[in-house]
């Protein structure tokens, strides 16, 4: 008998399975469950974008693309980012097309950090940063953001976690699971520290287009002195409802993007060709789609925040992504207990805040990437659950 556990890499053994999974699996085995647990758009990819993918297949464009992605796509990405967020990247060497934003995060970590380096990871946040940091051989240093700061990352929090070994700060805003955003003034304080302490920033801006209210998303790369030390990760999944196409990109200094391209070239070769043709169409003619989907999410966001507040749940107003992160401490239950009892007694699936870091205790993540009717029904069930406990 082979003892596989002795064969597995020590780092992968340390990596815990994702905590979002569990409730989804429970929900899948029950009937009549209303889920508010999914973290992807419920919209389908706009038809003209799908058509561009189909057309490329009909024309037989089924080969690999250049390693960095098609030139036309990189040019479009560069134009888009400059128009939307005011930072210009050279499409020939500062843009890399990846398999989703996730690949870019992985590449970035593996190209930048080594054993002994520390990576600052604000939590609650998406589940991939910590495991990928561990697999890259570095040490994750968790920063617990606070609900009283609406889960923004503060200057003090960063300063109190910096050591001589700190190499990289991950900046996951707009944030999954909290819906928090960082305003320009918040980013300026972080940028100042990054520059003074010579820290690089990996800015995961996958939800940038899903920012609500009058103040638009600001990329930290647009601040003075930051373009040279920021690696921006984004993609098509959330903005254009293209999750299944698996297409993302990274923007950063040439030397870092070159290194990431090398790793991408050996590990992945090139991002999916069909998806790239669709993405060119998305960037050329898809901005109205973004706007109409954003408006729809915004309506649902107000419905769900209003609904929770009416039930007397503490719920700060999320200004980004498609999640609300209500506090459930009043119920006296832990996040996990709350979610288990909610699904067992009312058949509503939400995700415990602890899936996104220990500091998510006392909160649950509720996705509003669902129809109004669906949200209405789920809220009614949650309300009756709260009355009964």
């Amino acid at each position: 008998m082979i003892d596989y556990s002795s064969l597995l890499n020590e780092n992968i053994k340390e990596v815990k399975p994702s905590g979002i999974r569990k409730f989804f699996d429970i929900a899948n085995e029950m009937d009549n469950v209303i889920s508010l647990s999914i973290g992807e758009p419920d919209f389908k990819t706009p038809w003209h974008i799908r058509e561009a993918g189909i057309e490329s297949l009909q024309k037989g464009r089924t080969w690999y693309s250049p390693n960095r992605g098609f030139n036309e796509l990189r040019e479009e990405i560069s134009t888009y980012f400059s128009n939307r967020f005011g930072v210009s990247y050279d499409s020939s060497c500062e843009v890399l097309v990846t398999v989703g934003g996730s690949e870019a995060i992985d590449l970035c970590l593996r190209c930048l950090v080594k054993n002994g380096d520390e990576v600052l990871i604000p939590q609650p946040s998406f589940v991939c940063y910590e495991p990928l940091t561990v697999m890259a051989g570095a040490t994750p240093v968790i920063i617990e953001t606070k609900s009283e700061n609406e889960f923004r990352l503060t200057k003090e929090e960063v300063l109190s976690h910096i050591t001589d070994k700190t190499k990289l700060l991950i900046l996951p805003y707009p944030n999954n699971p909290t819906g928090a955003v960082m305003r320009k003034s918040d980013l300026e304080e972080i940028a100042k520290i990054a520059i003074e302490r010579n820290i690089l920033v990996l800015s995961d801006e996958i939800y940038a287009e899903l920012t609500y209210g009058d103040e638009p998303h600001v990329s930290i790369s647009s601040l003075k002195g930051m373009k040279e030390r920021t690696i921006v990760v984004s993609g098509f999944s959330k903005a254009y409802a293209m999750t299944g196409w698996r297409l993302g990109y990274t923007l950063g200094p040439k030397e870092i993007v070159d290194a990431m391209t090398k790793l991408h070239q050996y590990g992945i070769m090139s991002a999916p060709t069909t998806a790239q043709y669709a993405a060119i169409e998305a960037l050329k003619n898809g901005y109205d789609d973004i706007k109409s989907m954003r408006d729809e999410y915004d309506m649902r966001r107000r419905l769900i925040v209003g609904g929770f507040r009416k039930m007397d749940m503490d719920c700060f107003e999320p200004m980004g992504a498609f999640y609300v992160f209500p506090c459930i401490k009043k119920t006296g239950l832990s996040s996990e207990e709350f979610c288990t009892r909610l699904i067992e007694s009312k058949r509503v699936a939400v995700v415990p805040g602890t899936a996104f870091g220990d500091c998510g205790e006392g909160f649950v993540r509720v996705s509003y990437s669902y129809s109004i009717k669906h949200i209405q029904d789920a809220l009614a069930r949650i309300e009756s659950f709260l009355r009964e406990i």
């Binding site: 979002i20 999974r21 589940v127 309506m299 419905l303 209003g306 609904g307 109004i372």
Partner: protein, 160 residues
Amino acid sequence: MKKLLELLSENARLTTTELSFLLNEPEEKIKAQIAEYEEKGIIKGYRTLINWEKVPNAGVTALIELKVTPKKETGFDEIAQSVMSFDEVESVYLIAGVYDLAVFVKGNTIQEVASFVSKKLSALDSVISTATHFLLKRYKDGGVSFAETEREEDKRGLIL
């Protein structure tokens, strides 16, 4: 507030509180606006979409094409008025094309509808000819899919 009308046309059971969240307007303003729409006849009523095929002995529906001679002064309006005054008639539309009025008629049986068409509709002065089509299956109505096979499930899986 066209958006208010759009939301209500999709789901008339949204409460004014919910509408006030969705539209980011005070509830009082929503209430006043709905009252105004009702007053002006923009909102004509609130009904339920029922899949009658699932209800036993719910009867039959037919689409009747009517060719008519328009009147000198009143055009098609007068004849449309006469047609719509029958209780059996569900809806009446003036059509541009090979015929003039599209009339939806409900009855308990095919025979009943057929007899209504021949005895009542055809008997009207201005009616030149009729063609009756019985509805066999309702796939979509009022923007809602009625076909069981077409019902779309949430196929999104959770990957993390």
